[in-house]
Amino acid sequence: MTAGTLSRIDLALRSVTPFLMTVALILLGAMPLSMPIDLPITPAFGLMAVFYWSVYRPDLMPAVAVFALGLMQDLISGALLGITAVIWLGTFGIVLNQRKIFLGKPFAMSWWGFSMVAVAAGAARWLISSALAGHLLDAHRMTAELTATVLLFPLAVALFVATHRRILPKIA
């Protein structure tokens, strides 16, 4: 094996890191961790990853990857197959168009932007689920999850930034 092949494999592995990390986060979200409160809450780690990578490295998070990740999330959660894919693709499309707002700005700006996106994604999920169920659904848990998602965003970003700096290939 030549050095060239090795470095190509290395590059390929580094390029799929955001995707694989998101897969790991989705699996983490399904862990049966007991909660101190009665309401089991799953923060939307997948949404955080989709947001971060489509703002900062859209070359490593193409639409196909977002689609596949959304489907995977639905297959695991037992939700309607495709609902998360629709919501994440919508998020991806909007964020990709507006990413210049966040580039080079302080973190608070991204956090605020993510909160808006998370609320919109939550509202979309609530509306679609309600429309398909035929009546308005109870949104208590949704709100709790939204809050947890927004509060945990900085933690996830710390992880993404570390990956971004150390592992990812530089933009050519």
Binding site: D38, G78, L80, L81
Partner: protein, 295 residues
């Protein structure tokens, strides 16, 4: 060379942007159509789910181990902190339960005697399989759980899932080594139940809150807060008398049931297969397999 590359880029860039747009909309449409197909409960969607479930079972099984250790660790600390109080409570509980035990023994004897007297048809047999919950799947609008037992362990669709406290749901998808349990709090869950004291029948419907509601209770029935709700044999799908919960409130918003199951810590689940004698079903012997989690 560099100039040439730039020229190619200048030409290719708009084409690439257009191609990306088309691909994006194609994917979006595909996801949307898939969602509608899935709503129509197409068989292939269920197959895909079962396949993914089987594929991911080893992963969940491996990763749920540390999660379990964290859980038991926190439980351990809690136990140490409240050891004394717990001990006092337990003593009182034991004293109370011993009285109940003697009552139960007496009633059981009486029941046996009366059944013999009436020539009562024997109860259908139950098969039960104990297994480990490996993933707490679901999301804001779905409540379900993956357990580590499937067709290979003899699980069949429709089996009741219970914990020590009471009913938690029913098996809706069965893979080779894993199954999905739809919890009674899920929107789509409908369980035939009855009020234990009055024997009034109703349907327990999940509504995405921690307290499911009672539907279709007859007009003339009286329900009081604190009444016990148990499963009924209506429809022949569930064994009758499994504890479900107690009536928590009766009011404008319907009748809410506080479930016995403790949703915060479900580790092992017992799946009960119930077969009416008149219906053909698999062998009736109690499963002798020891679930992996208990070995």
């Amino acid at each position: 060379m560099k100039a040439r590359t730039e020229a190619v880029f200048r030409f290719a860039a708009p084409v690439r942007v257009a191609a990306y747009r088309v691909a994006f909309f194609a994917l979006f449409t595909a996801a949307f159509s898939l969602m509608l197909l899935s709503k129509a409960e197409v068989l292939i969607v269920e197959r895909a789910r079962t396949f993914a479930m089987d594929l991911l079972t080893p992963v969940f099984s491996a990763v749920s181990e540390p999660a379990r250790m964290i859980n038991s660790g926190t439980a351990e600390v809690h136990n140490l902190l409240y050891l004394h109080q717990e001990n006092v409570r337990m003593r009182e509980e034991i004293a109370r339960l011993q009285q109940w035990q003697s009552v139960a023994r007496r009633l059981d004897d009486e029941n046996q005697g009366l059944r013999a007297l009436l020539n009562y048809a024997p109860e259908p047999s139950w098969r039960s399989i104990t297994t480990r919950a490996i993933a707490d799947a679901g999301g804001a609008f779905v409540r379900n759980m993956l357990v580590e037992a499937g067709t290979e362990q003899g699980v069949s669709k429709g089996a009741a899932a219970v914990t020590g406290e009471g009913l938690i749901g029913r098996v809706v998808e069965v893979g080779a080594r894993a199954s999905r349990v739809l919890l009674i709090t899920d929107l789509n869950s409908r369980i035939p139940v009855m009020i234990e004291s009055s024997r009034d029948r109703a349907v327990l419907a999940g509504d995405n809150t921690v307290m499911p509601k009672l539907l279709y209770l007859s007009q003339d029935s009286h329900v009081n807060v604190g009444d016990r709700v148990v499963t009924s044999a209506q429809g022949g799908a569930l064994p009758p008398g499994l504890p479900v919960g107690i009536i928590a409130s009766v009011g404008e918003r319907g009748i809410q049931v506080q479930t016995f199951a403790d949703w915060t810590r479900i580790e092992f689940v017992r799946l009960i297969d119930y077969h009416l004698p008149s219906l053909p079903g698999p062998a009736t012997a109690v499963s002798d397999r020891v679930p992996r989690g208990l070995r």
